[in-house]
C-alpha cells in the first residue's frame, strides 16, 4: 500500500546531505515550505545550492538559511534580501541570476525530461552574454561569470539555449495533500511549487491539510503523487512579517 505520509519531519529530511542542490517552491513567503526549510536548518545542513525564485524579504524560510550561512549558491530571479547581496558581494555565496520565466521553464523542463530549450528571454543581455558575475572573491573582485549561452535565430529573432534543472531534492508546500502524495494548492501560493516538485529527484511536500485519499477529486489535483515522495504536515504558519514591495524599476 502506498502511504507517503510521515510524522517525523526531521527524520524525513535528514536524507538531504550538505552540499545538495534543492529546488524550493514559493513566491516570496506565499507558498514557501517553511516547515521543511526549518527542518533542514535545525539539522545543520550546509553548503546548499538552492533553486528558488526569491531569497526572502524576511528572515524566515530561505532568508533563515542565508543568515545562518547555509548557502553556497542560489539560482534565482529576484533575491531581494539585502543580507543576501552582502554575502554575494563578499564572495560567500554565488548567484546564478536568471529571468523568472526561464527559471520556471528550466524546472518544468528538468522534471519533464527535456534537457534544454531555446527561449527569447534574456537574449542580448548581460545575463546571457557571459558578462554577469556569479561569484566574487573575498576582496570584491569578480571570481567567475555566468557562461555565455549558445544562441540561435528562429523566425528572425535571437534565442538562447537554457538547460533543464534536475535538483537532488525539492521542497514544496501545498494547501491539501493525501497519503498518495496528491497535492492541491491554494490561489497564487501554487506559483513555483508544482515545477519544483517535478524537478526534484526526491520531493518532500508539506501540506496545510492532510486529507483522506479520494477527498481530492482527480480533476482537482494540481500535482499528482507520482512527483512526490514524502508528505508531512506543515506547522501552523506564524503571522507573516509584512513584506515590503521592492523592485528594480524606478
Amino acid at each position: 500500500m502506498i502511504d507517503k505520509f510521515r510524522e517525523d519531519v526531521l527524520a524525513v529530511v535528514d536524507i538531504v546531505p550538505s552540499g545538495a542542490c534543492i529546488a524550493i517552491g514559493g513566491f516570496g513567503s506565499s507558498g514557501r515550505p517553511d516547515t521543511l526549510i526549518d527542518a533542514l536548518c535545525d539539522l545543520g545542513k550546509r553548503d546548499l545550492h538552492l533553486v528558488v525564485n526569491n531569497v526572502g524579504a524576511d528572515f524566515l524560510g530561505v532568508g533563515r538559511m542565508l543568515v545562518e550561512g547555509r548557502l553556497r549558491r542560489v539560482t534565482a530571479s529576484f533575491p531581494i534580501l539585502q543580507e543576501f547581496y552582502d554575502e554575494y558581494f563578499a564572495g560567500k555565496v554565488e548567484l546564478e541570476l536568471i529571468p523568472q520565466g526561464t527559471l520556471a521553464e528550466r524546472l518544468r523542463a528538468g522534471g519533464a525530461g527535456i534537457p534544454a530549450f531555446f527561449t527569447p528571454s534574456g537574449a542580448g543581455t548581460m545575463l546571457t552574454d557571459g558578462t554577469f558575475v556569479d561569484g566574487y572573491n573575498p576582496d570584491g573582485t569578480p571570481a567567475s561569470h555566468l557562461p555565455p549561452r549558445e544562441t540561435r535565430v528562429f523566425n528572425g529573432r535571437e534565442h538562447v539555449l537554457e538547460y533543464g534543472i534536475v535538483a537532488d531534492f525539492a521542497l514544496v508546500k501545498a494547501h491539501q495533500g493525501d497519503r498518495k502524495g496528491n497535492l492541491r494548492f491554494r490561489y497564487s501560493a501554487r506559483n513555483f511549487n508544482p515545477l519544483a516538485g517535478m524537478a526534484g529527484r526526491h520531493t518532500f511536500a508539506e501540506v496545510e491539510q492532510l486529507v483522506e485519499v479520494d477527498e481530492l477529486h482527480p480533476d482537482d489535483i494540481h500535482l499528482p503523487g507520482v512527483f512526490v515522495d514524502d508528505v508531512i504536515v506543515a506547522l501552523p504558519t506564524s503571522p507573516k512579517q509584512p513584506v515590503l514591495p521592492t523592485g528594480p524599476v524606478p
Partner: protein, 235 residues
C-alpha cells in the same frame, strides 16, 4: 495645442522650473485611454501600477501577474489580506469575476507565447532602436524578476516613464548605457511630455502633452525620432 515657445537657453528640466506636461498619474491616465476592451495586460511597478484606476468605463482589461494570476483586482484591504493570494510585488490582492490561477511556468507561457497583449513597464532608458533598460543599475543589487520574459514575449511593450531622470538627463537616448532588459522590444513610450510609437523600427513622436511644444520635447530627448504629430499620426 498652445504654441508656447520655450527659451532655447533653458537648461533641461531644472528642478525648480514650474512643472510642464503630465503628472505621474497623468501619464497613467493618458496610457489607459489606449487600452482596448479584452486586452490581457501585465503591469510593472511604478507609474504602470497607477494605470488601472484610469481604465475607461466599458473597457474590460484582464490584469496578469507573473506569479500566476489572471484577473487581478485591486489590492486587498487588511481584513481580506491572504498570503496565498498576492501580486508580483508580494502584496495581498483581490480577484475579479472570471479570474484564473496558474503555476509559474504556465504564467510565463502566457507571456512568451504571445498571449499577453501589452506589458506596461517603467524604464531607466529607452533607445531609438526600441532597446529597453529597466532592470539593473550597475553597482546596485541585481534582480531581474520577470522583466526579460515580459519584454521578450508580450505582443506590445509600452513604457510609462518620466521623460528625463532626476538629474534632468534624457531617458530616451540614441543607445542605452544601462544594462539591457531586451533589444528592439519597446513599441510605445508615454512620458510626462509626449507619446511616441515605434513603427517600422523607427521612433515617432505622435503627441505632445497639453502645454508642451515639439521644441521642448526635442530639447529633452537624446534619441533620433520622426515627428508625426496631428493628422500624420492618424495615417
Amino acid at each position: 495645442m498652445t504654441e508656447t515657445v520655450q527659451s532655447a537657453a533653458a537648461p533641461p528640466a531644472p528642478a525648480a522650473a514650474p512643472r510642464v506636461g503630465r503628472t505621474r498619474d497623468g501619464i497613467a491616465e493618458r496610457l489607459a485611454q489606449d487600452l482596448r476592451d479584452g486586452f490581457v495586460v501585465n503591469l510593472g511597478v511604478g507609474i504602470p501600477l497607477e494605470v488601472p484606476r484610469f481604465i475607461p468605463l466599458g473597457v474590460e482589461v484582464i490584469l496578469h501577474a507573473e506569479n500566476g494570476v489572471l484577473g487581478m483586482g485591486p489590492l486587498a484591504p487588511p481584513e481580506l489580506a491572504d498570503n496565498d493570494l498576492t501580486d508580483a510585488g508580494k502584496q495581498p490582492i483581490t480577484l475579479v469575476s472570471g479570474a484564473a490561477i496558474v503555476d509559474s511556468a504556465t504564467s510565463f507561457a502566457i507571456v512568451r507565447g504571445g498571449h499577453l497583449d501589452v506589458t506596461i513597464l517603467g524604464a531607466l532608458q529607452v533607445s531609438e532602436d526600441g532597446d529597453l533598460a529597466n532592470w539593473y543599475v550597475p553597482g546596485r543589487n541585481p534582480a531581474v524578476g520577470g522583466a526579460m520574459d515580459l519584454v521578450a514575449g508580450a505582443r506590445e511593450v509600452w513604457v510609462a516613464m518620466e521623460h528625463v531622470d532626476r538629474k534632468g538627463k534624457p531617458k530616451l537616448v540614441s543607445q542605452c548605457t544601462m544594462p539591457l532588459t531586451g533589444r528592439n522590444c519597446v513599441t510605445r513610450v508615454y512620458t510626462d511630455l509626449a507619446v511616441f510609437h515605434f513603427v517600422d523600427g523607427r521612433l515617432r513622436l505622435r503627441e505632445c502633452a497639453p502645454g508642451v511644444t515639439p521644441e521642448l520635447v526635442r530639447e529633452r530627448t537624446a534619441a533620433d525620432y520622426i515627428e508625426e504629430l496631428g493628422d500624420a499620426a492618424d495615417a
